[in-house]
């Protein structure tokens, strides 16, 4: 009996040129016929410094499916049917330190409150608010039966990915440049040592090498030998780890736990386990390396003058047509797309840059002009000067454009069940302040994307009216941002009864998930 694959090949050959048109359909039919179910994914994308409210929100006073996105959010129009724009969410910060600063209305505190939804452990240094709990992506990864984490029946090789385009921040503080956290170490008395940030990778090439490059296959003698050699090395590393675990105090085990997880991922990287190329899983092209610079790392608020971390600016003094920040960011998002498609991870966060960032843009940018000289993004943002606001607005629109294009690529990519990747992915687009000039955190710009298998009620402008928090437009009708996480968690099989301190949540936000 002729195998299905042979028959398939003959069928397509007989169709000649028409075959190319029918192959995607055929794959779709095959996938559905085979009953292949694609896993759900979760992605948080952060853009810095909020937006200009009058250019972000449609002029609608109630929830509606009929709305036009204004200029800053208009780039997302092609995705509108798979998108919910929410208006009426406030970041609510809290701290365990009685009377202590909770980070309200700061970039630093905003990031922590938004992503963890939990009270901070306190503050170190000038404004580094210490996360008091795991971030939402790590919470879901840990608890969800479907996101490939420890409680999932099918675990992904790499757990989760934390990527960024730029991580320079004032004083190199951790809070503004980290999205993802694990739970803090309760045995550490120092809060700075207790927190457990997952620092983002900023070089796409490093991501590629670690996640996609893999080892030689087992179809050659050399490949088989290499796999055996690698295995022996990994075994030795694990035996050394086991020995150390018996010797160190409990307070130090978290360091060995970290390396244990790292060894597991190293195994996935060098043994090439997990990535099975297919029609929907393609190894991305090897990206170039990006030269890092500190050109924008200057100013008053950093240790002795600037971030000590390097970064990649939008503005290239040597070439006005070269925008490495943009290219790098898009490459990172493409890495995430490929990692999702190949089921190497199902959870990821991506940060364009920190709220207190040093990414340099041209002084004149897409019609907005701040001056004749290029400028880092964050430092001039504390003003309502029209020219500066216009410049900031163009940058916000730029980020909308880039993210929309990236997510359209998600939507165009076929997933293993024949649907689009976006049909199986929940993407949340966030920022850490609503308004840059005064750090107001009411009516936070908030977009949730997700196609048909996610349950997201796309095509909706969701106006929150049943809350009790202050609305930037007057009155008290807003809800805490945690209510979004509470609404999304059940999509992934996680039921969170609460999140954070009592003031930080109300309940799952209605109208977001069908």
């Amino acid at each position: 009996m002729t195998s299905y694959k042979v028959a398939r090949r003959s069928f397509l050959a007989g169709l000649g040129g028409s075959a190319a048109l029918l192959v995607p359909l055929l794959r779709n039919i095959e996938a559905r016929a085979a009953g292949v179910k694609a896993p759900l994914r979760f992605l948080v994308i952060h853009h810095p410094l909020g937006t200009q409210m009058d250019k972000w929100r449609p002029s609608a006073s109630a929830t509606t499916q009929s709305f036009t996105l204004p200029v800053n959010s208009a780039p997302f129009a092609p995705l509108q049917q798979k998108m919910v724009m929410i208006d009426g969410l406030n970041i609510v910060a809290a701290t365990r330190v009685a009377g202590g600063p909770d980070g309200s209305n700061t970039h630093e505190g905003g990031m922590v409150a938004l992503m963890t939804g939990q009270p901070t452990l306190g503050q170190v240094g000038q404004q580094d608010h210490v996360a008091g709990g795991a971030s939402i992506d790590q919470m879901l990864l840990a608890q969800s039966p479907v996101l490939g984490g420890p409680t999932s029946s099918g675990k992904t090789p790499f757990g989760s990915l934390q990527l960024a385009a730029d991580i320079r921040s004032d004083r190199d503080e951790v809070a503004p440049r980290v999205l993802s956290y694990l739970d803090p170490d309760p045995k550490q008395s120092s809060i700075a040592l207790a927190r457990h940030p997952l620092y983002a990778e900023t070089q796409p090439l490093n991501v590629y090498n670690r996640i996609f490059a893999g080892a030689a296959g087992t179809d050659t003698e050399a490949g088989t030998r290499l796999l055996a050699q690698n295995k022996s090395i990994l075994d030795f590393m694990r035996s050394d780890l086991a020995r150390m675990r018996k010797l160190v105090p409990n307070s130090e085990l978290v360091k060995l736990d970290a390396q244990a997880a790292a060894i597991q991922q190293l195994e996935a990287s060098i043994q090439g386990t997990g990535m099975v190329p297919s029609s929907t899983c393609t190894k991305p092209a090897q990206p170039l390396s990006f030269a890092q610079s500190g050109m924008g790392a200057n100013g008053d608020l950093a240790p002795g003058g600037g971030s000590k971390l390097s970064g990649v600016d939008y503005y290239d003094p040597k070439d006005p047509n070269n925008h490495p920040h943009q290219v790098l960011g898009r490459l990172q998002l493409s890495m995430i797309k490929a990692a999702f498609a190949c089921d190497l991870v199902r959870v990821s966060t991506f940060m364009w840059s920190a709220g207190t960032n040093w990414v340099v843009f041209p002084g004149s940018f897409n019609g907005g002009t701040i001056g004749s000289s290029p400028s880092p993004h964050h430092p001039p943002s504390h003003t309502t000067d029209p020219a500066t606001v216009g410049w900031l607005s163009q940058i916000d629109t730029f980020y909308s454009n880039q993210n929309s294009q990236a997510l359209q690529e998600f939507d165009a990519a076929m997933d293993m069940d024949g649907n689009s990747l976006l049909d199986n992915t929940v993407v949340v687009y966030v920022t850490e302040v609503a308004r840059a000039y005064d750090h107001d955190q009411r009516n936070m710009p908030f977009l949730v994307f997700g196609g048909k298998n996610t349950g997201i009620k796309g095509g909706t402008f969701l106006k929150v009216t049943d809350g009790h928090l202050q609305n930037i437009d007057g009155g008290s009708s807003n809800r805490p941002t945690n209510d979004v996480w509470l609404a999304l968690a059940p999509i992934f099989g996680v039921n969170l009864a609460s999140l954070g301190a009592a003031k930080q949540f109300t309940g799952p936000l209605p109208g977001l998930v069908g």
């Binding site: 295995k231 020995r243 307070s251 608020l301 504390h382 750090h439």
Partner: protein, 577 residues
Amino acid sequence: MSVKTKTRIGRASLGVLVIASSLSAACTGSVERNTPSARQSPGTVGPAGGGGTSTTSDDCTPLDAVPRRIWRLSVDQFGNAVRDLLGLAQPPALNNNGGTAEYAFFSDDSAVVDAQLQFSIYQATKSILTQIAPRIPALAACTSGEQPQACAQRFAQSFGEKAFRRPLDADEVTALMQVYSAEGANTDFNTGIGLMIQATLLSPSFLHRTELGPTTLAANATGTTTLNPYEVATQLSFLFTNSTPDSPLLTAAADGTLATSDGLEKQIDRLLKLDAVKQNISSITLDWFNVRQLFSKAKDPSFFMGLPTADRDPSLLESDLLTSTQRFIDDVLWNGSGKISDLVLSQRVFVNQRLATLYGYQFTGQSPDQFVSVEDNRRAGMLTQPAFIWSMSDPGVTSIVKRGKFIHDDVVCQDPVPSPGNLLNDPAIQAKLAMLPTELDKSHYRMSTQPCVGCHAQMDPYALVLQNFDPIGGYRTVADGVPVDPTGAFSAPSPVAPATLTGPAQFAQALVSKSLLSNCAVQKISSYIIGRMIRDSSTCEVEAIQKSFAQTDGTMTSLFRAVALAQFTRQRAGGTP
């Protein structure tokens, strides 16, 4: 409320962003002290060393106990250790900082090996194996007639001990030999040795220093203990060379001499004679003054218009400035008196042709790239080295806050002032500062206005005495159209007070005559060796060293010796199980 203020950038300050100095009303200049935890008797002499026998002040604060811990190597330490273990010409570079700041004074002991760093190390070890492949036989050093298996076993034992900085037990050697002869790996002798090297360099025991005390101690033992001899060897080697212990140190650990006062002193005195140690001490001094951050500081290109076009590349200038400062430090520490005081009293600056042109010196070198010394009586050592000033300034203006705070915290070692907290976001303060056109105007405002004055009256004067130096470290007599008056008025609780000092030379004299610089140096190097920044200037253990150091020749060598001998550096505390 809206803030209608035009923000100026470029040469002018960034306006509203110069709020970093604004301080809360709680800042009265009072000293914040570390909360004393488990009290340790200062100045006691332990079995492994001297030092600390002098008395301390009655109101000193005992140092918080350093817990028993494992301490991940920094990327520099990783590279240096691999270089020295394998005899490489250069340390291998990692493409990952492991989550730590690039120019940190010392590596953070909370740092972990995360997935990205682990992979980066793996890639580096692959590259290293390719590099050392021709030398594997020499590294293995089999004896004449020795069978490969026996040689490999001996290598596993010896290389493992050097890499893990302690002897390997039998099980560990067996495990390492399983890498050598892994089933299916089909390795020849050279490949097997290479794989053992790779496995060792990837393992937790190589990547983490242990500070757990005697090997017989239970994992969760409570109470205080002392580093075991191998851990002392490791501590000394990373202090003096920023690398793995050499053979004499490991031998001293093995034969017990490192556990004696004489043995400890002998090793320290041996190390202090090594060129590599001198280089490392110079590097630590450079990092004490945070000079390397100059690589992250852009400057207004108008400063370089006096240079030929080809010389205006900031990266060239930054590299020159680093070399200039390295030469200065080496000149003071190794070619001159060696005294810490000369770090601020020496009026030399080292320049090549490019820097000489930039700073207006006559160049006497025989080639453009040669660095020669210039005596400039307007300068005061590290305080006015161009690289230091460059790193403490903004692109177009000096920064009184940054310079002042750094000197306050890290050159005088005054207890840090409280954070301004949310005051930074006060629109009224932002608006006010934005209206003040110059750095000096802002400083005067801060020093005369509540709630800023309490802290800025302490910090700003340290920078005012350096006002003759522009953002790139060049000398100026006029700033923002006004003649420079580099006078700082110092009031209590500044240890310089009461004093009105004009210019860096007078200030440097005050730092030296009051032993402020040397005392701060003790505090900084004490912080360095334990990997915890000591911010309380009345820490008992540090005071004890300061008093004994005051009886020495005042050299950096003597300082490192005194710190290395201090018993508290080897004490660790168990915690709650």
